[in-house]
């Protein structure tokens, strides 16, 4: 393969990487701070795309308002889920939240499928690229779809902002303290349970945001999250469970790796991620960016 094609593939990989990064970031935030393995993350990503589509159908709202509204709405649903369901499981064996979130995935997928089949008469829905971003941009070595460039930049900004808020601000410090040692934090007069809810909602909103970004590239369909989420879990494991920086860097890196793999030898592309995961688990069980679990 020539160098130009390699270069294009790296770029192309960054687009997929952007989705991996946004999703694994949400997973990492939720896991790192709440110790919840959120299996419903893929379904919530799909829900983001679907809400964007439905807003357009019902209210005629375009991509830009949906980019803000859909994550807010789905994030609010996340808050309700945390308050109504997940909250009851804290302190119990982790397999309970695993089963609950997995069950939620099935439920959400089936409900959306029924809604789409009955209301829109198609099992996958068209969602078009916003007018401003239609077309291709000349990068010097290739004409690349403008919308895909936007996805890369936008995802990077969101990832950095999330990292910054959690690692470098006072709000982030409170969140980290609240999850590290709830009792002491509570003693300082901070409402820990409220912060837990906010963090969960934030993680869910990130998934929904990725969904809205994905809608114009992939078709909106009930199972669009189920395939992606498997790779995303691998990304989280490779990056280190709960490591925010790890999930972002690994997300983009895995995207590039898959793109290069599929250009060199397509059949291996999807397996590559899991080979990498196996290697990382053998050599660094806590992931590339993970710290050993505090005892």
């Amino acid at each position: 393969m020539n160098t130009q094609l390699m270069f294009i593939q790296v770029f192309n990989g960054l687009v997929n990487g952007a989705f991996f990064a946004l999703l694994s970031l949400g997973l990492a935030v939720i896991f790192g701070l709440l110790r919840i393995v959120n299996f419903a993350h893929g379904a919530l990503y799909m829900l983001g795309a679907f809400v964007a589509f439905a807003l357009g159908q019902a209210l005629g709202l375009g991509f830009w308002p949906a980019l803000i509204l859909a994550p807010l709405l789905v994030g609010a649903l996340g808050v309700a889920l945390e308050r109504g369901l997940l909250r009851r499981l804290y302190g119990l064996d982790p397999s309970y939240n695993l089963l609950l979130t997995f069950g939620l995935t099935l439920l959400v997928q089936d409900v959306i499928k029924q809604v789409m089949l009955s209301r829109y008469a198609v099992s996958s829905a068209p969602y078009t690229i916003p007018q401003e971003l239609v077309g291709a941009t000349n990068l010097g070595f290739v004409f690349f779809p403008t919308y895909r460039l936007f996805v890369i930049v936008f995802a990077l900004v969101v990832c950095l902002a999330t990292w910054f808020v959690i690692e470098r601000t006072r709000v982030g410090a409170v969140i980290r303290a609240a999850t590290e040692n709830p009792t002491v934090t509570q003693a300082f007069g901070i409402d820990v349970s409220r912060w837990v809810t906010i963090v969960f909602g934030l993680g869910v909103a990130l998934a929904a945001l990725a969904g809205v970004l994905a809608a114009p590239i992939y078709s909106v369909e009930p199972y669009m999250g189920s395939e992606l989420i498997i790779v995303t879990f691998a990304v989280v494991v490779i990056g280190g469970m709960g490591s925010i920086l790890g999930s972002v860097v690994t997300g983009f890196a895995v995207g590039v790796l898959v793109a290069l793999g599929s250009a060199l030898y397509p059949p291996i592309a999807n397996t590559l991620v899991f080979v990498l995961m196996a290697l990382v688990l053998l050599l660094r069980p806590n992931g590339l960016f993970g710290l050993p679990e505090a005892k």
Partner: protein
């Protein structure tokens, strides 16, 4: 006097029963529609297939009074899984006394189901499954392949596109039985028609959402045609990204292996406009088709796909064969089907080939209309070429079928 009446009654009733003599097992013909009621193909086959079979049963009973009340249709979900399909087939035959298995989308599920049906000596009519293995190396006495297959798709589209100037191809295909088979058939058809491959075909993971790698490769190869053997949701993603990467503007046409009306609906017809594909039927093919489609739409609420229309036709022809054989005994029905020639609203110049049980019929290479060209909602295709039944399917000389 009394005796005479009795004798007369006896004679009359025996004459009546001879006239309508039907040796039906348990006095009922049960049609089992084994299909995808919940997954990716549920929209193009699914409940619509069950509905179509029911319509065929009703029409048949109306036309053949002596069968009134004797045909039952049962819809069963095989979830596109081979193991589920074979379990359900056994269950339908053993417990529900089903006399024929119908529809069978997803090649792997179809192959699994017909094998069970063969062992139990029950007729299976595959409508929505595509693999040529059904009438080729895996052919058997009780299996019939209706509507379409991969050879017919490739032969129709590959030849038509190549002859229209699309003589260099780059093909991608999903890496499982259906895609591998279709890629082989398509490549052969393109080369046969004098075209060439710009690069070896690429196998893509299945299922897959992102096809940008292959679209970028196509950009650099600059073939005349980008051939995609993906189906259903994967096809929708390929076509979406084909447009996003602007391949059409770069002069790279789109050749589609397997296309259902629902795929076009999912993306809007402009995304597909200009693409060529081969289909056995579409609803506004002619007046007869339109009449039937209107009836279907009235009861089902949606326009029929060609798969659903095929299920109607296959069910009706099976029932007609039972009527000719005057029994639902499989061997007799098979005999009544073999060599049978017919034309209905779906299958034109149709003939049931006895050597491999391929049902051959006229098929059509169509071009997807842009929405500006459409005259009414759902008006999707215009005919580019009608391929006569005799040339549409694998010639017997190339068949590996050894019918036992």
């Amino acid at each position: 006097m009394k005796n005479k009446v009795l004798i007369l009654t006896a004679i009359l009733s025996s004459v009546a029963s001879v006239a309508g003599a039907q040796k039906l097992s348990d006095n009922v013909i049960r049609v089992g529609v084994l299909t995808d009621l919940s997954g990716v193909y549920s929209e193009l086959a699914g409940q619509g297939s069950v509905k179509a079979a029911q319509m065929a049963a009703d029409d048949f009973m109306r036309a053949n009074r002596s069968y009134a009340g004797k045909v039952q249709v049962i819809g069963v979900d095989h979830q596109n899984k081979a193991d589920v399909a074979s379990n359900k087939t056994a269950e339908m035959i053993d417990r529900q006394n089903v006399d024929v298995i119908m529809d069978l989308p997803t090649s792997s599920a179809a192959l699994a189901s017909v094998e069970v049906a063969r062992q139990k000596k029950v007729v299976a009519m595959v409508v929505t499954g595509g693999t040529t293995a059904l009438t080729n190396q895996s052919c058997n006495r009780y299996t019939f392949h209706y509507a379409y297959d991969n050879y017919m798709l490739a032969n129709g589209t590959g030849t038509a596109v190549t002859k229209r100037g699309g003589n260099s191809w780059y093909i991608i295909y999903p890496n499982y039985a259906f895609g591998q088979d279709l890629n082989r058939q398509m490549t052969a058809a393109v080369q046969e028609a004098g075209g060439k491959l710009a690069a070896p075909s690429d196998a893509t993971p299945f299922p897959n959402t992102d096809f940008s790698t292959y679209l970028l490769k196509a950009q650099s190869l600059k073939p005349k045609v980008f051939g995609t053997m993906q189906a259903g949701a994967d096809l929708v993603n390929v076509v979406k990204q084909y447009n996003e990467f602007g391949l059409r503007q770069q002069g790279i046409g789109l050749g589609i292996g397997l296309l259902f009306e629902t795929d076009v609906a999912a993306l809007g017809q402009n995304a597909f406009a200009g693409a060529l594909a081969t289909v056995p039927w579409f609803w506004n093919l002619d007046d007869r088709s339109r009449t039937w489609a209107a009836k279907f739409e009235k009861t089902f609420g949606k326009k029929p796909t060609w798969a659903q229309a095929g299920v109607y036709s296959a069910t009706y022809q099976y029932l007609s064969a039972v009527a000719r054989a005057k029994t639902d005994n499989s061997d007799a029905v098979v005999k009544a089907l073999e060599n049978y020639r017919f034309s209905d609203f779906f299958a034109r110049s149709a003939y049931v080939r006895p050597q491999d049980h391929r049902v051959i019929l006229d098929v059509y290479t169509v071009q997807v209309k842009s929405s500006a060209e459409s005259k009414e909602p759902g008006d999707l295709f215009k005919i580019v070429a009608r391929i006569p039944a005799s040339r549409a399917f694998l010639p017997l000389s190339e068949s590996k079928c050894e019918m036992k």
